[in-house]
């Protein structure tokens, strides 16, 4: 039955090549099979004509943050466009795409509200000791210890945002409603925003109580949060990372947290996921999360709409949304 369906689709529907790590399945996009001849290298059973059809497929859907290398692209010589479905771009070899003249799109701002919400949730949790307090109550420790440790105020704090893109600007808007003051660092000053701009992260950090890391991971931003930045933040400052693990020098972060040289951290991402440094497991001023900031059904509905639109737009030669600039 499955094979018969494949044959039928092959004759009628445009080719769509999937590129995915085996751990990302496609249950989020059931519409694909009704509109495209889906060529999935990990399908079971495999498409009978995968080897030949994949050479002529012009459109690729890259699922989640699956790594896409120059070698991968060599296997699919006809690909003209890669529709991405992840907020980050570091899993794409963008230079290889540029050399081949391949268009690339990302998840755009589908995840931005959820990630911004999560960043604020982590900041409040770290400052007000929400997860630590929850552990304290669940452990049955409250009776007899009525004076639980004091947290630190959120309202009115100085927030420094590293990367004022679609996520960073949403974090700023949310924390402004708490009466926090916002400043930021990014590659260049944004002409349309009034927040104070710092052209380097150390200066931003010196003038912030809460540092929120939400820029893209590139060669330039690898370990952008190093020892100097964290020293500038100081022992009362906290870091929230909802970007990528490698934006922070994790070894330094762990050392400084253990020694009390920075005030706390809320981390949704890590350098070697799913590995998380165990030194952090006993700290009450740290909140740990399994790369979870994007994952709500609301986000996926927005992403599905974006992906569906971009796949259709490619064949109709219409403008793509959330296209990545490759120059």
């Amino acid at each position: 039955m499955a094979a018969a369906t494949h044959e039928n689709q092959t004759s009628n529907l445009p080719l769509l090549l999937l590129h995915r790590s085996p751990k990302y399945n496609l249950s989020f996009f059931p519409f694909l099979h009704t509109k495209y001849t889906v060529l999935d290298p990990h399908a079971a059973p495999p498409h009978p004509s995968f080897a030949t059809l994949s050479k002529s497929a012009r459109l690729m859907l890259c699922v989640g943050p699956s790594t896409l290398t120059s070698d991968d692209l060599d296997q699919y010589p006809a690909v003209e466009c890669v529709v991405g479905s992840s907020a980050g771009l570091n899993h794409f070899d963008l230079a290889a795409c540029r050399r081949r003249g391949i268009l690339v799109t990302s998840a755009g701002d589908s995840f931005s509200d959820d990630v911004a919400d999560y960043a604020v949730g982590l900041a409040i949790d770290v400052l007000r000791r929400v997860s630590a307090g929850h552990r304290f109550v669940r452990a049955g420790s409250w009776p007899g210890h009525e004076g639980y440790m004091l947290g630190s105020k959120v309202s009115g704090k100085r927030v420094g945002i590293v990367g004022l893109g679609s996520i960073g600007s949403r974090v700023a808007k949310r924390l402004e409603s708490f009466g926090c003051s916002v400043s930021y660092n990014s590659r260049k000053k944004k002409s349309h925003v009034s927040y104070p701009y710092y052209d380097n992260v150390v200066d931003l950090s010196s003038n912030s109580d809460i540092l929120i890391v939400c820029c893209a991971l590139t060669d330039e931003t690898y370990h952008v949060i190093g020892k100097d930045v964290m020293t500038a933040l100081g022992k009362n400052g906290i870091i929230v990372n909802v970007g990528r693990g490698a934006l922070i020098d994790e070894n330094e972060l762990v050392k400084m947290l253990v020694r009390g040289e920075i005030g706390g951290a809320g981390l949704d991402v890590f350098e070697h996921e799913p590995h998380v440094p165990e030194e952090l497991f006993t700290l009450d001023n740290v909140v740990l999360s399994p790369h979870q900031a994007v994952l709500t059904p609301g986000s996926f509905a927005a992403l599905e709409e974006l992906v569906r639109g971009n796949l259709e737009a490619f064949f109709l030669k219409k403008p793509l949304r959330a296209e990545v600039g490759l120059d």
Binding site: D113, D117, I124, R128, F136, R138, V154, S177, F178, P274
Partner: protein
């Protein structure tokens, strides 16, 4: 003023104790093994009582202190103070309004995010090594959810302002409709609960608001709804809340307060959709200092015959 006896009824803040020690004869009630005798012994010198959200001045304490002139509470709520008795006796009462508004509102939003996005459950998952064996489940979006607020006073308004930053529509219930807001008014708590995703209790505790969140309200909120309580434990019928959560009739809860603190129903301990906190709504270093300064300031003003800073009675 160092001859004036100030009775502090329970431990609340080290800085406050230091500041009171500097100015008054501070008597630490909770350290006394024989409290009745202690009161009798100091009855003539105690002219002020300092209480908080867990212990204040009930009728019995007030009656045993003939020279009592003022009760200065290290809290905004006054449900632990017998206000009628104070009025009868001409005893002044002060609280610490405004200074803790931001903290309580911040925590309300923090609880909403922690419950919907399962932040505490995520943290537990990572710390226990669960991530290595698979991904955590999907969670629920917060931005855009309808937030229903019981009691649109200072704290309720501060919650509304923050939730608007997340594009959440705001609705509310209070005794009467407020003239100066565009938020949607509901004339009953059940109607409010039926029309919101997140219900937050932010009113004062009075006989009328005790168990204002009852079985009917919880059922109206429903299996996708979330209850946040940063008010007082007795606002919520806790037995009904526990059974609704255990039976899945309510989507989740974020609770900073409980009916019999520090006792927390153990049936809630293992639910991933519940976040439990030890009454820390105003528990920040900054705010506790501001509250302590108000308590001391009110006492100083009273004994210098100056106007009180934050009088209630």
């Amino acid at each position: 003023m160092d001859a004036i006896g100030v009775l502090m009824v329970c431990p609340m803040n080290t800085y406050l104790e230091q500041e009171l020690d500097k100015r008054f004869n501070l008597l630490r009630y909770w350290t006394q093994p024989r409290q009745h005798e202690f009161l009798t012994q100091h009855a003539e010198s105690i002219r002020a009582v300092v209480g908080n959200a867990s212990a204040g001045a009930d009728a019995k304490l007030i009656e045993s202190l003939p020279k009592l002139e003022i009760v200065s509470s290290f809290s905004v709520g006054m449900d632990k103070i017998d206000l009628n008795k104070c009025k009868e006796r001409g005893i002044r009462v002060t609280n610490t309004p405004d200074v803790l508004t931001d903290d309580v509102a911040d925590l309300a939003i923090g609880l909403m995010l922690a419950v919907l996005r399962r932040i505490c459950a995520c943290d537990k998952y990572v710390r226990s090594g669960g991530w290595k064996s698979g991904d955590f489940k999907l969670t629920t979006k917060f931005s855009g959810k309808t937030v229903g607020i019981i009691g649109l006073g200072r704290i309720g308004l501060a919650i509304a302002k923050r939730a608007e930053g997340f594009d959440c529509p705001i609705s509310y219930y209070s005794r009467s409709e407020k003239p100066n807001t565009n938020y949607k008014y509901h004339k009953s708590v059940v109607e409010l609960a039926s029309n919101c995703d997140i219900l937050v209790v932010a009113c004062a505790l009075t006989p009328e608001t005790t168990h204002i969140v009852n079985r009917e309200v919880i059922n109206a909120l429903g299996p996708k709804g979330v209850l946040i309580n940063i008010g007082r434990g007795p606002h919520v019928d806790e037995a009904e809340l526990v059974s609704a959560l255990v039976e899945g009739r309510l989507g989740g809860a974020g609770l900073d307060v409980f009916e019999k603190e520090p006792e927390v129903p153990e049936q809630l301990f293992d639910l991933d959709n519940v976040v439990l906190l030890p009454h820390v709504g105003s528990a920040t270093v900054e705010t506790r200092k501001a509250m302590a300064d108000l308590v001391v300031g009110n006492l100083e003003a009273h004994f210098a015959n100056k106007p009180l800073l934050t009088p209630v009675v």
